[in-house]
Amino acid sequence: MGYDWHWRVFLEPAPGHERYLDWVFSGLKITLTLGLSAWLIALVLGAVLGVMRTLPNRALSTFAAAYVELFRNVPLIVQLFIWYFVGPELLPFGDALKKIDPVAQQYLAAMLCLGTYTAARICEQVRGGILSLPRGQRLAGQALGMTTVQTYRHVLLPMAARIIVPPLTSEFLNIFKNSAVASTVGLLDLAAQGRQLVDYTSRPYESFIAITVMYILVNAVVMLLMRVIESRAKVPGYIGA
């Protein structure tokens, strides 16, 4: 390998009072913020949809099932482009959207896209978690005179929430990896900063290695975090615990 490494390039000044290293960190910040905010949307929406999937009400469960099929069978980048280019044209407040800061538009589209996309996957996990509970739990709730809402709130959901933590770990990891798609609409996340670094420094290997290491670090931190949560959430004596 005759390649001449030049790692100090990250300490060199970049256009606009920064060093190239700052670009890496600003990309990291956007990737993390985007992933976390989309995760909140995905968790809330996914939990609601997952519960709907298991309700006796036919209309609600069909709606949730249709949502899952729709968001699972269209590629993520197509969904993102639809949020970004089609959303402002079709949404009622679209004209107001077009007037806000372009970066905010990119961020908003990416956050909604990742959130709704991941919600479809979380919905399936939540549904699986609720269905994995013994049927007697639901029946016991009803036998005690609980309404459907009470049965979910006091009996089914507290258990299901703990059971689905391990499968949620992989979705949480995915959301940060999937967030790299936001770079295609111009959001300056980690992946986009990587390409920009290549253009400005003409140091493709150093740039990509730095960015790849950042993704691996995010992955590792999320995994460690989830391992702690998993060990706290596991139900003693339960299968898989």
Binding site: E69, L70, R72, N73, V74, P75, L76, I77, V78, Q79, F81, I82, F85, V86, E89, L90, L91, P92, G94, D95, K177, N178, S179, A180, V181, S183, T184, A191, G194, R195, V198, P204, Y205, F208, I211, T212, Y215, I216, N219, A220
Partner: protein, 227 residues
């Protein structure tokens, strides 16, 4: 909502271009599914091998590819593969190697995901089977090929097919390399004719129809095969 739809961009002339794009998507998918399963099987066998070194090497490979976004992997390969092939095979730099890079990137990336499915498939076959094969005097390779893998394959076929759907959707990410697949053609035509909204919705609908009908077939098959 003041937008006026005009789907006239989806016309016979453009459908030819779109079909060409779909062919690129299909070519990448088919190559990556076949190569991914072959390499994935080898990786899975390495991970289950008795040599610690081989196990670790395969585990690092899988962990690495699974920790990095596909977009980053594609960018890496579009950077490295053309240079590498030029040096090794003395191909002129003018030669377009985006397709070759995409095929290699997808195959190696998907192999990591396939290997996890295949490993689980192999482990789903009861250990008595391998003992029985060994008792009959078969070597490790023979036992794998004649006894374990045929059964494992049957157990994991639905998952392999589902991964194929995911892979087909993933191919749209070649957009980052300026290689035009179905999505790239649709978006390009939309931009040219000022009809991005219509073309994106059309592309989304086509992807949905393909993936959804294929997933119905897989579900059907799953019911037939899984006893």
């Amino acid at each position: 909502m003041s937008y006026h739809f005009d789907f006239s961009t989806v016309n016979v002339g453009n459908l030819g271009v779109l079909a060409q794009g779909l062919l690129v998507s299909a070519e990448i998918t088919a190559t990556a599914v076949v190569a991914g399963i072959v390499i994935g099987t080898m990786l899975a066998m390495l991970r289950l091998s008795s040599s610690r070194l081989l196990r670790t090497a395969a585990r690092i490979y899988v962990a690495l590819f699974r920790a990095v976004p596909l977009i980053m992997v594609l960018l890496w390969f579009f950077l490295i593969i053309p240079q590498l092939l030029q040096q090794l095979l003395h191909i002129s730099p003018a030669h377009d190697m985006r397709m070759a890079s995409a095929l290699i990137a997808f195959s190696l990336f998907e192999a990591a995901y396939y290997s996890e499915i295949i490993r689980a498939g192999i482990q789903s076959v009861s250990t008595g089977q391998i003992d029985a094969a060994r008792a009959l005097g078969m070597g490790y390779i023979q036992a794998m090929r004649l006894v374990i893998l045929p059964q494992a394959l049957r157990n994991m076929t639905p998952l392999l097919l589902t991964q194929g759907i995911v892979l087909f959707q993933d191919t749209s990410l070649v957009y980052v390399s300026a290689l035009t697949d179905f999505f790239g053609e649709a978006y390009g035509l939309g931009e040219r004719d000022g009809r991005v909204v219509e073309m994106l919705l059309f592309a989304g609908a086509v992807y949905f129809l393909i993936c959804f009908s294929f997933s119905l077939v897989v579900r059907r098959y799953q019911k037939v095969v899984v006893y």
